[in-house]
C-alpha cells in the first residue's frame, strides 16, 4: 500500500472551467481527505504554479467564470498548511525567469539532481 505519494506536475493549466487546474484540485483533495502523505514536485512549465500573486479572474459576457477568488497560490498554500511538501526545480525556474522570491512561501527550491532523491523517498508517483 502506498503511504507516501509524490505528485509531479509538468504542465500548467489555467482558466479551465474548473477552479484552477483540476489536477491541483485533486491533489489538494488528497492532502485534506486521506491519511496518505502527499508531496508535490513542480517541474518543467509547471513551476509557474508556484508563483505568488497570480490573478486568475476572467469575465465572459460580463460574468466571472470563477465565482470564488481562486488561484494556484491559494491551493498551494492550502496543501502546505495540510502537511504537503512542495518543491520546484531550480533549473526549470531559471529558464522561465522565476526567482525564489517569486514563489509562494513554503515552496522549497531544489536542483534537478536533487529531485531524483524524491524517487527514493516516495513509494508511489502520480505524474500529471
Amino acid at each position: 500500500m502506498a503511504n507516501k505519494v509524490l505528485v509531479v506536475f509538468e504542465k500548467p493549466i489555467y482558466l479551465s472551467f474548473e477552479p484552477v487546474d483540476p489536477h491541483v484540485f485533486a491533489t489538494a483533495l488528497g492532502v485534506s481527505d486521506t491519511p496518505v502523505e502527499v508531496n508535490v514536485l513542480l517541474r518543467d512549465s509547471a513551476v509557474t504554479y508556484g508563483v505568488k500573486n497570480q490573478q486568475v479572474n476572467v469575465k465572459i459576457a460580463g460574468q466571472d467564470i470563477m465565482l470564488h477568488e481562486t488561484s494556484p497560490e491559494k491551493v498551494m498554500t492550502f496543501m502546505i498548511e495540510h502537511g504537503a511538501k512542495i518543491r520546484a526545480v531550480s533549473e526549470d525556474m531559471k529558464m522561465r525567469g522565476i526567482n525564489k522570491e517569486d514563489l509562494v512561501q513554503g515552496i522549497e527550491v531544489i536542483s534537478e539532481d536533487d529531485s531524483v532523491r524524491l524517487l527514493e523517498e516516495h513509494d508511489s508517483f502520480m505524474v500529471w
Binding site: 504542465k11 493549466i13 472551467f17 465572459i60
Partner: protein, 148 residues
C-alpha cells in the same frame, strides 16, 4: 544598393471567422480562451462559426449543473463553480442582436458520447458538410486541437 519595396496594401477586413475546437471544458483552458475570443470578435461585428468535435461536443450539453465543491476545499475553491454551457448560451444569444455566432456540434461525436439528445437550444448538430461550409466561407480559420 537598391532596396526592394512592396506596395503596401491594407489587409482585407475580416468579416467571418471559423473556429475548429476539439477539447472539452474541464481538461484545459482552450474553451475558455475560445469564448473570450468569440466575445471580442462579436463585439467587433465579426460573424463567428464554431465547429465543435471530439470532446468539445460536451461543451453544449444542456444538463450541466453548477455542482458543489467538496466541503473540505470550500474555503479555497468556493461553494461551487459555473458550467461552461451557461456562457456558450449567452454568447449565442448575444449574437442574435449583432454579429452572429453559429455553434455546430459534430453528429458522429455527439452520438459516440451519448449527448445527441442533450444538446442545448441554440447549438446545432451538424455534419462535416457544415465544417466545409464554415471553412470555405471564412476569412480566417483557427483550429484548436486536442493535444495537451
Amino acid at each position: 544598393m537598391a532596396t526592394e519595396t512592396t506596395p503596401s496594401s491594407a489587409p482585407a477586413k475580416v468579416k467571418r471567422v471559423a473556429i475548429v475546437l476539439a477539447t472539452g471544458s474541464y481538461q484545459r483552458e482552450a474553451p475558455t480562451t475560445v469564448l473570450r475570443l468569440v466575445e471580442k470578435l462579436l463585439q467587433r461585428g465579426v460573424d463567428v462559426n464554431v465547429w465543435a468535435f471530439e470532446e468539445a461536443v460536451t461543451l453544449t450539453n444542456k444538463d450541466q449543473i453548477d455542482h458543489n465543491e467538496p466541503g473540505s476545499l470550500q474555503k479555497v475553491l468556493g461553494e461551487k463553480h459555473p458550467n461552461i454551457g451557461r456562457f456558450i448560451d449567452q454568447m449565442i444569444r448575444a449574437g442574435l442582436h449583432g454579429a452572429k455566432l453559429d455553434w455546430v456540434s459534430c453528429i458522429l461525436c455527439v452520438q459516440e458520447r451519448g449527448v445527441e439528445k442533450h444538446q442545448m437550444g441554440g447549438s446545432i448538430v451538424g455534419t462535416l458538410g457544415d465544417l466545409w461550409k464554415f471553412v470555405k466561407a471564412a476569412d480566417r480559420v483557427i483550429c484548436i486541437p486536442t493535444y495537451r
